[in-house]
């Protein structure tokens, strides 16, 4: 099978709609197809990877831990937009640390999260071959 540059664009907050959860499910499946996968978190999508999510009060399943598994599937390009964080009073410290082990570099733990500004995000989008957005 050909390898394409896939980008999954996440622009919505989790729990208010199912998009965040079902996007994550597609991303996990895409790993099985050995594609070149990137994730974009912008606008309200940045809330999908905040720390300390606690869903006991709303009765929904807390699926935020599953983002931590992405690194194990070699999905380690998570682009987070700086301006989106700032407008929401958030910083990178409010996000979960999401890591992967680089087997070509003595299995060092590296961050999967790339903080990019809006112009950089636009440039990354422009290089994709398939953009699936939710």
């Amino acid at each position: 099978m050909a390898i394409k540059k896939f980008m999954f664009v996440n622009r919505k907050a989790p729990y208010g709609s199912v998009y965040a959860l079902e996007s994550l499910e597609v991303v996990l499946i895409s790993a099985a197809f050995d594609q070149d996968v990137s994730l974009a978190f912008l606008d309200d999508g940045v809330y999908q990877i905040t720390k300390n999510q606690d869903t006991t009060g709303i009765g929904q399943k807390n699926f935020s831990a599953a983002y931590k598994a992405l690194g194990d599937y070699e999905i380690n390009k998570l682009y987070v937009e700086k301006e989106s964080l700032e407008e929401r009073g958030l910083t990178i410290a409010d996000l979960m640390p999401l890591m992967w082990e680089d087997e070509d570099d003595d299995y060092q733990e590296k961050s999967s999260i790339y903080l990019v500004n809006r112009a950089e995000m636009a440039d990354i989008m422009a290089t994709q071959e398939v953009v699936i957005s939710f």
Binding site: A13, Y15, T56, E87, R88, G89
Partner: protein, 102 residues
Amino acid sequence: MAMLHIVNKSPFERTAFESCLKHISVGDSVLMIEDAVVGAMQNTRFSAHIEQALQESSVYVLSGDLAARGLSQERIISGVTAVDYEGFVDLTVECDTTQSWL
């Protein structure tokens, strides 16, 4: 006659929240639920709107929705009150009518 305005949309994604705040009367209450809870946080692009609304009305946020999105009650705007679903019910009793801003 006091009205409880219920907002469930993020103020960063939709204009419903801003429209709501432009249509409240003195003494009305505003409750943020679902994705709207992100509007309760300090130092956001939207927080000035909430601070202004607090001058003539009461503003509440549903605690379960706040926690689900990883947002701490310690960082909500001063004057905004966190309530649970029972508190939500009490607000509907105290106000005469409700309006949902969808």
